[in-house]
Symmetry: C2
Subunit: 212 residues, 2 copies
């Protein structure tokens, strides 16, 4: 319920009185329960949102690797859509309720995303270049979802999701130039895509066309 | 001088007393000058750092587009190296001195980076997809420089710089699949690279090899 409030309004605009009103509870009761004030309430809401988001990282068992990635992104974007103002305020920083503790919760979510993605790629021990690739792609996903919110959701979310999957393949290809581990992971991933996957062929066509 | 202090220590650990000591000034003088306290001092230091960083975005007149991009990244990474702790604390968030005002300063730097990159690409009016591409690449640059600091600068900075240029080309190629404006910009950029540029050929080779 606090999560609901913090989802659609910037945290700086939510007060304990709003919580009491939304819950239909008496103000003294709410103030007694959240003796740590708004900060405590915000952190509790954030922790619950972080858990909900992390749950969505589970990869569905069916489909090719890029279809699975696309399915996870679909769940991620539905979370972003449901928690727009809160998501935006949290990742932007500069809110009065932001502390080292709230930053740590966000970092935990990022670490979970990194772990799940590496596991999905079948990697047990990632070297620094593969880690950098996956972290960078996660940063691109965050940035893209913030841009999507900023621009009033005008870009179709399906296109954005496909763009992010293509970005992953392209970024992995560029990383593979420098890193044998990434080259191996990418080759294994594209082999699982099957011969009909259009992704690598599409990317190659663009690079060829760009060269003229 | 305040910039110096905030560069190498997290802002939460710097006090006005440190400033007085570093400046060889009396404490009352420093406290009178920065009546707004540490917050005011931090914002002044941040503004001066933001100006310094923005100045480094100027593209050198000589070289191919990817060589110019690489030169700008070299200056960016030397800034990151000079302001390690401050840079890291600022972009990570959760510092007690972080406010809506400090976030706005950081956003201004990002906007300047976006503007300069688009100008470098010869773009007057960027559509939403090209804007998203450049913003995303800037997020990758930020993330990569934070990872580089986190891991004790073990990845060679020259490799990281070349990786980031390759990422730009790869991300642009993947965006061009969906967006004619980006396709045009990428084609123009690669035409300026000249026939000897190894970048597109290298990327194509990886995509081909990955397909098996």
């Amino acid at each position: 319920m606090a999560l609901e409030l913090f989802s659609h309004r910037p945290p700086d605009e939510v007060g304990l009185d709003d919580v009491a009103e939304a819950a239909g509870a008496s103000r003294p009761l709410v103030y007694r329960y959240f003796a740590g004030g708004k900060q405590q309430l915000y952190e509790a809401a954030l922790r619950s949102a972080a858990e909900e988001l992390t749950d969505r990282f589970t990869v569905p068992p069916a489909g090719t690797p890029t279809q699975q990635l696309s399915a996870v992104l679909e769940r991620y974007f539905s979370f972003v859509a449901e928690h727009d103002a809160g998501y935006s305020a949290l990742l932007r920083g500069g809110s009065v309720v932001e502390t080292a503790r709230t930053s740590a919760i966000v970092d935990d979510v990022r670490r979970a995303a990194l772990r799940r993605t590496l596991r999905h790629l079948g990697v047990r021990q990632a070297g620094p270049r593969l880690t950098l690739l996956v972290r960078s792609w996660i940063a691109v996903v965050e940035g893209a979802s913030l841009s999507w919110l900023d621009e009033g959701r005008t870009l179709p979310v399906d296109e954005l999701r496909e763009w992010l999957v293509d970005q992953f393949v392209a970024m992995a290809a560029a990383t593979a130039l420098h890193d044998p581990q990434t080259a191996e992971v990418l080759a294994a991933l594209l082999a699982l895509e099957g011969p009909d996957s259009p992704r690598p062929a599409r990317l190659r066509a663009v690079l060829g066309a760009a060269e003229g």
